[in-house]
Amino acid sequence: MVDASHDGNDVITPAAVEDVELYHPHSWWTRYVFSQDAKVIAIQYACTAIAIGLVALVLSWLMRIQLAFPGALPFIDADRYYQFITMHGMIMVIYLLTALFLGGFGNYLIPLMVGARDMVFPYANMLSYWLYLLAVLVLVASFFTPGGPTGAGWTLYPPQAILSNTPGGEWGIILMLVSLIIFVIGFTMGGLNYVVTVLQGRTRGMTLMRLPLTVWGIFTATVMALLAFPALFVACVMMLFDRMAGTSFFMPAIVEMGEQLKHGGGSPIMFQHLFWFFGHPEVYIVALPAFGIVSDLISTHARKNIFGYRMMVWAIVIIGALSFVVWAHHMYVSGMNPYFGYFFATTTLIIAVPTAIKVYNWALTLWRGNIHLTLPMLFSLAFIVTFVNGGLTGLFLGNVVVDVPLSDTMFVVAHFHMVMGVAPILVIFGAIYHWYPKVTGRMLNEAMGQLHFWITFLGAYLIFFPMHYVGLVGVPRRYYEIGETSFVPASVHDLNVFITVVALIVGAAQMLFLFNLVWSLRHGREAGGNPWRATTLEWQTPQTPPVHGNWGKELPIVYRWAYDYSVPGAAEDFIPQNQPGTLGVTREAVA
């Protein structure tokens, strides 16, 4: 028996975990296309997500141009505008952010960070990606169907979503629902992999309380997704029946174009409950991986251990749990018993407590740290500021009396773009700058990166800060043209032009980023195995980029937590997790 323990009670026990049975590819096709290697699947996920994200980015340009210069692009009419809004929202939230964080970063980082050779079910993992790709293709197909994609708004509220005169009422809505159903099935296959790998597939010494916070964030988000996506699945199935089989789950008796429809007796509010039971956890499915990743980036680039590791873990778990009991704060104006509003406002505001713990802990990790203003650190700092800003407006919207007048204004748009659009995207950028050297073996170009960062960060504020004001004076969201309206001051029109110009520039800066990704593949500086001198296991692989199976003959053994930076007395300012010794936190962080 192999026993690496210091005493009988140590956490490092003999190997108990079975070794994953790797599939060794024999051909180019099974190595790079139908690959069962989590790292290849991760890159496939990431590339697909970024590609479809570009579509959504272009849609946002078109919407902004329409808002600032109504009629400048003659092909944009009201229907088109609604279709752009719908597709932009759905793509960004589900097909870009969720897929990139969980399918992309989850696949790449979980096996490496927990010291596994691969995900526990590589075959199902592969199917997960191909189903995701199919979902994306079905979604894209709706652009080319008669009537175009659905214009129901990304929340797809019935009855309007499935009425025939809603843009995309012919095929768009059907393809959207089918695409979401496929996405949920595909995600479940991947999600089960991530969860079981974290729970049951860790290497020796890797207790849950030694996991890097990145893994905690992705793990908790995946568990939430496995419990929240069922509601979306059910809502989509039922709406598909309403649209195609003539049922009336969500359809009340309704008159359209002077004609009494055959529907009756259904409840549109029920859809909203189902949708937001998925929709609110979805916010944190996107946010928690960002929380986890940013914790690791800050600790690594400030050369300091994360402050309050256990609190950080508990905060992630508590936020995840609370996010299941707040969904109806999206429905304050839908008509609810006032006591429900009271309940949901309370739970919503309670979430501020664990969230604040996290923000304070990030700040305290930075405090007196040896802060390196590398690109990942810059993006992390930008994230903290942006997340706090977005979170503060969340306090406004979480309260019923303040939410009611602000509901469905541009204020809401500014709020959720700050908190779950810009903030997680900043983390994604930071994470790509951080892990690109591990994935490719080369560093991303620093100069291009700096330019990308400053344009993106400052630009995001120039876009969304004025938008709060636009919303406060009462400009509604989802209006494709506000025209000359008495309560809208002239400043709003000027601001709209300003926002649009900045948005175009920020969008263009993303092209620079994509160019950097491709350019650095060949021309980037050689990175070596551990350019950031980080402690976590993925930087300790024998090869960079890691090969199939991740580790050499032996799996690594973990002796310490992930945050032994600047340990007094240590030879270097970091001690990798797989390095034995008595310095630093070699025992469970539980102590």
């Binding site: 009670n9 075959y123 089960l192 860790r202 309380m209 009336s248």
Partner: protein, 248 residues
């Protein structure tokens, strides 16, 4: 391997720590148990862990379906058809309420019993008995689906459609077809996999290490138990559907 990774630790330091850590109680002990090395659930294989978590997720799907159905039923303004009459059978001139459903439920619960026996024999490596019991389970499952098809046919003949029915709220038909259809799909998938696994067991794949067609991986007898988890879950869900749809 052993020596290379073992590091000398000062004795006093080690003891002080081990005493402090020997038996952490309360919340801290609870956490350290669950956060323990390598596996959170000791001696639970990956496959079983995956199936349990999948079933948890699936529970949420059925939960959402049933809650949506109950919401529709409670909020409808037109009368809800009386299940005892709708689901009755007339046999030899006697109207017997819920007869078919009672038989269906009995068949499905019985199949849970044969499944449990298959799992038992699987662990004893009695290939033939395991395979036969799995096939018996599959046949019972198929019988259930068959009776469901009969029930659907009967209702459709009586004029029940997803969008209307002769007796009351349209949501009756919609919910009925959707929920029993979704459950029936689960049973059908289970039947198919039962046959596939039974064939593998019969052929001795798990003794000879024969590799799967799609995954090119070796299977293990454990798959019988994982199959059993799924099957019992599908039965359990039926109990809830039975209670909420037919008995309410």
């Amino acid at each position: 391997m052993v020596e290379s990774v073992q590091t000398p630790v000062p004795q006093a330091h080690s003891q002080a720590h081990s005493q402090a850590h020997r038996q952490p109680g309360g919340m801290r002990g609870f956490v350290s148990d669950w956060a323990s090395d390598q596996q959170a659930f000791k001696n639970v294989s990956w496959g079983k862990a995956m199936m349990w978590i999948f079933l948890l997720s699936d529970t949420f799907i059925f939960g959402c379906f049933l809650i949506a159905y109950m919401t529709a039923r409670m909020s409808t303004t037109v009368p809800w058809p009386n299940p005892s009459e709708v689901f009755g059978l007339t046999i030899a001139g006697h109207e017997i309420p819920l007869l078919l459903i009672a038989i269906m439920t009995f068949v499905l619960i019985t199949s849970s019993g044969t499944m449990a026996m298959a799992v038992n024999f699987g662990y004893r490596r009695e290939r033939r008995r395991t395979a036969l019991l799995m096939i018996l389970t599959a046949i019972l499952g198929a019988a259930f689906v068959g009776m469901q098809a009969f029930e659907w046919t009967k209702l459709i003949h009586e004029g029940v459609r997803p969008w209307e029915n002769p007796w009351g709220a349209a949501q009756f038909g919609s919910s009925f077809f959707m929920i029993t259809g979704f459950h029936g799909t689960h049973v059908t998938i289970g039947v198919i996999f039962l046959f596939i696994v039974a064939r593998k067991v019969w052929r001795g794949d798990f003794d000879t290490g024969r590799r799967g067609f799609f995954t090119s991986r070796k299977g293990r007898y454990e798959i019988v138990e994982i199959m059993g988890l799924y099957w019992h879950f599908v039965d359990l869900v039926w109990v809830f559907i039975f209670a909420f749809f037919y008995l309410w």
